[in-house]
C-alpha cells in the first residue's frame, strides 16, 4: 500500500503537515495544539455530537467541527480566537445547563473531563434559571450504574459497546434534550459486563458498582500491574488506599492506556482483583495435627516442611517427591520452583496444569525466525486465521484486537471452529467443522484434499474450504492463532503450512502465566527454555548435579501416588484435585505441602499449607500467551502472607541447601579471583561476569525475584530483552520457544483446557465477589424470564 500523500495546512499561523485523510483534530494534536472534545474518541466512529471542537476554517461560512473535517491542502485554521473561545464557552454552558452540581459526591470528580473543560474554557457561572431535569439513578447490572442527569450525551459508551465490544447493549432513545442512554433490556443490561462504557464516560454518568462512592481519585496511589486472570496479559491500573490490613485495592481500571491492551479491559481485569481480601483468604500457615489443619507459626511450618522433605529425599531419593507448579505465579517463582525441585529435592518430577501444548509448539517452531506474533501484532496484521478457542470468552483482549483490526484496518479474518463463536460476525470466512476435526483442517491446508471430506457440512462446502485455503496461501504475513484443540503433531503440521506464507503464530494458553510456566521449564522432561532434560545442556555446569532422567508428569505422579511410590507432593498455586481429578485417596500417605491463597480441594489434603501472596502483593514478571513479558508490580500487602518466592527459598534453607546457589544474590557464588575479565573467565563466577557485562549490580536479598530474573536472562535463550524497557512498564517479546531444544518429545500429554468463560477464572475466580455477583445476577434474571414465560 502506498503511503498517503502528505498535506500541509496552517493552524494558528503554524504550518504543519500530515497524511491525507487525517482528521483536523488529530493533525492539531500531533503538533500540540489542543482542540477540546468530548464525543471524539480515536478508533471509534465520528459523532460530532458535543460541538466542543469547533474551529474557524477560512472560506467556510460557519465554525466547523475539527473532529469530522479531514485536512485539505492549504487549509487555514484558527483554533484559538475570541470567536472560538466564545463558542466553546457556550457549549459548556449548554452542557452544564442540565448537569447537576454534585461534583463533591460524584465518582468522576477529580478526573472528569467536563470539570477540566469548565476550568479551562470557562462558563462556570450559568445564566440558566430553569430547573434541572432530575432522574433517579438506575442500576443496570451488578457493575454498571447510570446517573441520567450527569450524562452529556457524547455517545462514547454507545459506540464503545457497539463498535468496540460488538455487544450493542447501549442505545440512545428519544431525541433532543430528552435523549437518554438506554440499556438493551429496558431497565437492565445484558452484556459482557466489560465496564468499557464506565471507563470511556467523560463524566460520572456511568459508574462502577464495585468502586462507587468508595473514595476519590486523588486519594489513591496508582499501581500499573498485570491482570492475574487470563493469558492475555492486560495492564490494569490498581487504585490503592491505605486500610486496616495494609493496603486496600479499591479499583482496577485502564487509567494510562499504555499497556498492550490499549483502551481495553474486560470484567476480570477491571473488577476481579477483589479475591485478594476475600474472607476465606489464608492468613496463617496451617499444619495438620491429629487429622485437623490447625493454625501454626511460620517458624513451625517451615521447620516441619524442611525437616520432612529432607528426610524423604535422603531416605527415599528425589524420585519419591513430586512438584506441581502454577500458571499464576511469576516467571521467577516458576524458575525458582523447578530449580529447587531439580537441585534441592533432586527430582525431575515437576509439572503444571497444562492448558495447551506449549511444549509441542516450541518443538514445532524451534529454529525459526519471527515465528511468534505479539499481542500488538494482532491489531495490525492484514489477515488472521483462528483455529479453535473462543477468544471472546477466553481471551477477551485478543478478541478486541481482532475486532478492532477488522473494523479499522479491514483485516481478513478466517475462523475454523466447532462452535458458532461470536467472532464469526467479524470473519471473512467462518468454517464450522465437526468437533475434534480441527486437525483435519490443518491437513487440508497442507494439501491433503481427502481431509475435506470429514469437514464439509451443509454450511461448509468443499468450495468454501478451498477458497479459504487459496486466500490463506496468498495472504501477506498472516497471523495464525490456535487453541488447545491442536496439539503435538497437528501444531507441527500447522507450522509447516504457516512457514510457506511467512505466518506468525500464537498458541493460546489459559491462565495469566501459563506461557511463563512452560518457558520456565515446569515440565518433567524440559528444562527452562524447553531444553530436553535427557539431552545436552549446561544446567549441570550451572546448578551442580541435576537429575538426567525424565521425571513424571501429573498423571505419572497420580499413578505413583496410587502405587504408594510418591512419598511427598509439593504443590504451588495449583489445584490438581479439581483440575486433573487427582484422586484424593491416593494422597493419603503422601506428605503434601501446598502454597495457596485459599483452602482449595488440594490444600484440604495437605499436611502443611503456606498462605501465599497473590500476584497483586508481589513483584516479578509474567509472560502472556503470545510471549509478551511484562513487569508485575507489587501493589499492596496482606499482613502475614509471604510470596511463593520467599517460601521456596526459606524451605530450601531449612532443608540445608545453600540459598546462594539457589538464588544468585550478594557477591559471587565463587570468589572472583580477578579472572572475570580475563581469558580464563570460565573459571570465574559466570553470573557475576554476566551482571558486569550487562551493567547490573548483584541483588542484596535472597528474596529479590530480580536476582532470578538475572539468571533467567543469562540462561534462557530468547529472554534477552531490554531490561530498561521492561522496568519502564512496557512489554517485551520473548522467543524461548523459537530457541528451544526440546528433543523428540514423548507423545501426547494430558492437556486440560480451563474453558473459562468471561465470568470464571479457575479456582481463583470462585473467590471474586464481582464475578460471583454477575453470575448470580444472570442466573436470577434468567429464572425470572423463565417464570414470566
Amino acid at each position: 500500500m502506498a503511503e498517503p500523500k502528505s498535506i500541509t495546512i496552517t493552524v494558528d499561523g503554524k504550518s504543519l503537515s500530515a497524511p491525507a485523510g487525517t482528521l483536523l483534530i488529530e493533525a492539531c494534536k500531533a503538533v500540540g495544539i489542543e482542540v477540546p472534545s468530548f464525543c471524539y474518541y480515536p478508533g471509534l466512529s465520528l459523532q460530532a455530537a458535543c460541538r466542543m471542537c469547533l474551529v474557524r476554517i477560512e472560506k467556510m461560512p460557519k465554525l466547523q467541527t475539527a473532529c469530522t473535517v479531514q485536512i485539505t491542502d492549504g487549509m487555514v485554521v484558527t483554533s484559538d480566537s475570541d470567536e472560538v473561545r466564545q463558542a466553546r464557552k457556550s457549549m459548556i454552558e449548554l452542557l452544564l445547563g442540565n448537569h447537576p452540581l454534585d461534583c463533591p459526591v460524584c465518582d468522576a470528580g477529580g478526573e472528569c473531563e467536563l470539570q477540566d473543560m469548565t476550568f479551562k474554557y470557562g462558563a462556570a457561572e450559568s445564566r440558566y434559571m430553569e430547573g434541572k431535569l432530575h432522574k433517579e439513578e438506575q442500576q443496570w447490572s451488578p457493575v454498571v450504574y447510570f446517573d441520567r442527569p450527569r450524562c452529556i450525551l457524547c455517545y462514547r459508551c454507545v459506540r464503545a459497546c457497539g463498535e468496540g465490544m460488538d455487544v450493542w447493549a447501549l442505545g440512545v432513545q428519544n431525541r433532543g434534550s430528552s435523549s437518554v442512554i438506554a440499556p438493551n433490556q429496558g431497565d437492565h443490561l445484558e452484556c459482557e459486563e466489560c465496564g468499557m462504557c464506565i471507563d470511556i464516560c467523560p463524566v460520572g454518568a456511568l459508574t462502577s458498582g464495585a468502586y462507587r462512592y468508595k473514595t476519590r481519585p486523588w486519594e489513591m496511589k496508582h499501581v500499573g500491574t498485570i491482570c492475574t486472570h487470563c493469558g492475555d496479559g492486560c495492564k490494569t491500573t490498581l487504585g490503592m488506599r491505605r486500610s486496616d490490613t495494609g493496603m486496600d485495592i479499591v479499583r482496577g481500571d485502564n487509567r494510562d492506556k499504555s499497556g498492550i491492551n490499549g483502551d481495553f479491559l474486560c470484567i476480570k481485569g477491571r473488577y476481579a482483583f477483589d479475591y485478594f481480601d476475600h474472607k476465606d483468604r489464608l492468613r496463617h500457615p496451617l499444619i495438620r495435627r491429629n487429622g485437623q489443619l490447625t493454625q501454626a507459626t511460620w517458624e513451625e511450618a517451615l521447620e516441619h516442611v524442611g525437616k520432612r522433605l529432607k528426610e524423604i529425599r535422603d531416605t527415599q531419593g528425589g524420585q519419591a517427591i513430586g512438584v506441581i507448579g502454577s500458571n499464576r505465579t511469576t516467571n521467577e517463582e516458576n524458575y525458582l520452583l523447578q530449580k529447587f525441585a531439580r537441585t534441592v529435592l533432586g527430582t525431575n518430577n515437576i509439572d503444571h496444569h497444562r492448558t495447551t501444548d506449549f511444549a509441542g509448539f516450541a518443538r514445532a517452531i524451534t529454529g525459526k525466525q519471527n515465528a511468534t506474533a505479539t499481542m500488538r501484532d494482532v491489531a495490525t496484521a492484514s489477515s488472521i486465521l483462528l483455529i479453535g478457542n473462543d477468544p471472546t470468552e477466553q481471551h477477551p483482549l485478543l478478541a478486541w484486537n481482532i475486532r478492532s483490526n477488522v473494523r479499522l484496518n479491514r483485516a481478513k479474518l478466517f475462523i475454523v471452529n466447532s462452535r458458532p463463536i461470536k467472532l464469526r460476525r467479524q470473519a471473512a470466512a467462518f468454517l464450522q467443522v465437526p468437533e475434534g476435526r480441527e486437525s483435519k483442517f490443518v491437513a487440508f491446508l497442507n494439501g491433503d484434499d481427502t481431509a475435506a471430506g470429514s469437514l464439509t457440512s451443509p454450511a461448509v462446502s468443499n468450495d468454501s474450504l478451498k477458497q479459504v485455503r487459496d486466500q490463506l496461501r496468498g495472504a501477506q504475513d498472516p497471523i495464525i492463532i490456535f487453541g488447545s484443540e491442536l496439539r503435538g503433531a497437528d501444531i507441527a503440521a500447522l507450522v509447516k503450512f504457516g512457514s510457506g506464507v511467512r505466518a506468525m503464530f500464537i498458541c493460546l494458553g489459559d491462565y495469566a502465566n501459563s506461557r511463563g510456566a512452560a518457558d520456565m521449564g515446569l515440565y518433567p522432561d524440559l528444562f527452562p527454555g524447553y531444553v530436553a532434560a535427557d539431552g545436552p545442556h549446561n544446567f549441570n555446569e550451572e546448578w551442580g548435579k541435576v537429575p538426567q532422567v525424565k521425571g513424571m508428569d501429573i498423571a505419572g505422579m497420580m499413578q505413583a501416588a496410587k502405587d504408594r511410590k510418591l512419598a511427598a507432593l509439593y504443590v504451588v498455586g495449583s489445584n490438581p484435585v479439581t483440575d486433573y481429578s487427582f484422586d484424593p485417596a491416593a494422597l493419603q500417605n503422601a506428605f503434601v505441602v501446598v502454597q495457596e491463597l485459599f483452602l482449595t480441594e488440594t490444600a484440604l489434603l495437605a499436611e502443611v499449607v503456606f498462605p501465599a501472596a497473590s500476584a497483586y502483593e508481589k513483584a516479578g514478571t509474567f509472560t502472556n500467551t503470545c510471549g509478551d513479558i511484562q513487569l508485575l508490580k507489587k501493589a499492596g500487602e496482606i499482613s502475614s502472607v509471604r510470596s511463593d518466592f520467599e517460601i521456596i527459598v526459606r524451605v530450601a534453607d531449612r532443608m540445608g541447601a545453600d540459598t546462594k546457589k539457589l538464588v544468585p544474590f550478594g557477591k559471587g557464588v565463587h570468589a572472583d579471583m580477578g579472572q572475570s575479565r580475563g581469558a580464563q573467565s570460565g573459571e570465574a563466577d559466570r553470573h557475576a561476569v554476566w551482571l558486569t557485562a550487562n551493567n547490573l549490580d548483584p541483588r542484596l536479598s535472597p528474596f529479590d525475584p530480580m536476582a532470578i530474573l538475572d539468571e533467567i536472562q543469562r540462561l534462557v535463550p530468547g529472554y534477552e530483552f531490554s531490561r530498561l524497557n521492561l522496568i519502564a512498564g512496557n512489554d517485551e517479546h520473548v522467543t524461548a520457544a523459537e530457541h528451544s531444544n526440546a528433543g523428540a518429545g514423548n507423545g501426547l500429554v494430558q492437556i486440560v483446557p480451563a474453558n473459562d468463560s468471561l465470568f470464571t477464572s479457575g479456582t481463583l475466580g470462585r473467590y471474586s465477589h464481582t464475578l460471583n455477583s454477575v453470575i448470580e445476577n444472570r442466573r436470577s434474571t434468567e429464572s425470572k424470564e423463565v417464570m414470566a414465560d
Binding site: 442505545g171 440512545v172 432513545q173 431525541r175
Partner: protein
Amino acid sequence: MVISEKLDRFFDEKMKEYPTQRSFLVPMLLYTQDELGYLTNEAIAHIAKKVDLTELEVRNVISYYSMLRTKPLGKYHVQVCTNISCMLRGGEEVFEHCKQRLGIGHKQATPDGLFSLEEVECIGACSWAPAVQVNYDFHENLTPEKMDAVLDQYSRKAKQ
C-alpha cells in the same frame, strides 16, 4: 403470527427494493402500527429480526419519532393541530374543547378505548385552519361546535 401474513409478504417484497435493508425500518414500523394500532413487543422483535438489528436499535428509532408508539391508543386518534395558523384561528380552543368533551389529555385515551387525543405539530392544512386529523381523515375549518359534530359522527360509526 405477530403481523398478518399479507403484510409480512409485502415487507419481504418491498425490502428487496432497498439497497440497505435497515432503510426500510421506518416504513415497516408505520405499516405495522397501522395494522396493530401500536408497536407491540412481539412486533418489535419480529421487525428487528427482519432487518437484522437488535431490538434496542429498533426501540431507539421508535422513541425518536413521536408518531410511532409502543402503547395502545383509541380506535379514533384525534390529532389537533395547534401550530401557528391553527392557533390563530382557534386551534387551541378546539383542543381544549376536545379535552373537556373526552375527559382526557394529551396523548391519553378514553377508558372505552374509542378516542385518544394528541396535540400535534402542523399537519399541512393551514389553508383550512383550524384542522384536525382523525386517523388518516382531515376535518377542517373547525369550531368547538363543529368538533362536537365530528366526534359524534365517530361515536355513531363505532356503534354500527
